[in-house]
């Protein structure tokens, strides 16, 4: 697992207050991990802060699973980060 992926999973576990081992790649935030729409916004804010990113609302809607988040963040990391 990449460093980025580990950081993403740690943020998800912390913000959704769940065990890290529940944060599986295929897990969907709302259906599987008990997130509501505000929690998704909180997660996105946390990702933006942690990775120094700006995630537009249109992208937020597409981030449905843990893997979606990892993929989005990995492909948008600013140079020299992670």
């Amino acid at each position: 697992m990449s460093d980025t992926e580990q950081r993403v999973r740690a943020i998800i576990a912390k913000h959704l207050e769940i065990d890290l081992d529940k944060v599986k790649s295929e897990a969907a935030f709302i259906e599987d991990l008990g997130a509501d729409s505000l929690a998704i916004v909180e997660l996105v804010l946390a990702f933006e802060e942690e990775f120094d990113l700006d995630i537009p609302d249109s992208e937020t809607e597409r981030i449905r699973t843990v893997q979606d988040a990892v993929d989005f963040i990995s492909s948008h990391l600013p140079r020299g980060n992670g």
Binding site: D36, L38, E42, L45
Partner: protein
């Protein structure tokens, strides 16, 4: 009761009048209070001095509430320095009075820019930090005029009524994060804003106040303290009228 130790607050328009009284009251109860003002630095210093005289403390935050970027920067800065933000009071307001027939586009725009947009900018910047704290109190100071309407105050009344709809929505949207949003609607309060009225109009208004006196800024601040406190945790989306019975 109403202990605010450890809380970080911001009050807009806190250099004078109701805003100053709210800032002093929150500081007296232990909150660190960001004292926002737009222009009157000397008056804001007096607010800070009054807070310190009351045993509290805080800092000055000069910015124009109608400047979205400035609001966000000030709120984020305060939270970064003090480790969070818990209480936000949207008090800054202007009254551009006159018959609607005579109101300029700019009069309407300025009224809404400060009274409505300013409150929403503050709320937007604050709830984000309140979500992090898992505790928050958003208050907006409206006016009895938002409920009754008033000749010569169409724009002002509309802007104040707007705050009620905003607070009800914020109340619903962030309830799950332990954030409440409420409105205080003062009646005829003895401040610079009302001192500008002619004596004849003042006595006419007083006839309609069952409690028979003007309200004080401290009357309003006491209501703000309650709504900002832990004790008011089950009160959200409400309008608390502090008007001496002027409108019941």
């Amino acid at each position: 009761m109403f202990d605010l130790q450890g809380r970080v607050a911001i009050v807009t328009g806190a250099s004078r009048g109701i805003g100053r009284a709210i800032a002093v009251t929150l500081a007296r109860q232990g909150a660190w209070v960001g004292v926002n003002y737009a222009r009157n630095a000397q008056a804001a210093e007096e607010t800070l001095a009054a807070m310190r005289a009351a045993g509290g403390d805080g800092e000055l935050l000069p910015f124009d509430v109608s400047d979205s970027a400035a609001v966000t920067e000030a709120v984020d800065g305060l939270a970064a320095r003090r480790g969070g933000l818990h209480i936000a009071v949207a008090n800054a307001g202007i009254a551009v009075d006159g018959l609607l027939l005579r109101m300029k586009d700019d009069d309407l725009a300025r009224t809404f820019a400060t009274n409505v947009n300013g409150a929403l900018y503050l709320a937007r910047a604050s709830v984000r930090l309140m979500m992090k704290a898992k505790w928050g109190r958003f208050l907006a100071v409206s006016s009895v005029v938002g409920q009754t309407g008033n000749v010569g105050q169409t724009a002002y009344a509309a802007s104040k009524a707007a705050l009620e709809g905003a607070a009800r929505s914020i109340a619903r949207e962030y309830a799950s994060r332990n954030i409440t949003a409420n409105v205080i609607a003062p009646g005829f309060i003895d401040t610079d804003m009302t001192a500008a009225l002619p004596d004849a109009m003042r006595s006419k208004i007083l006839e309609g106040v069952p409690l028979g006196r003007l309200g004080s800024a401290e009357d309003v601040a006491a209501a703000a303290l309650y709504l900002a406190s832990n004790e008011a945790g089950y009160v959200t989306g409400q309008v608390l009228n502090v008007n001496g019975g002027l409108y019941v």
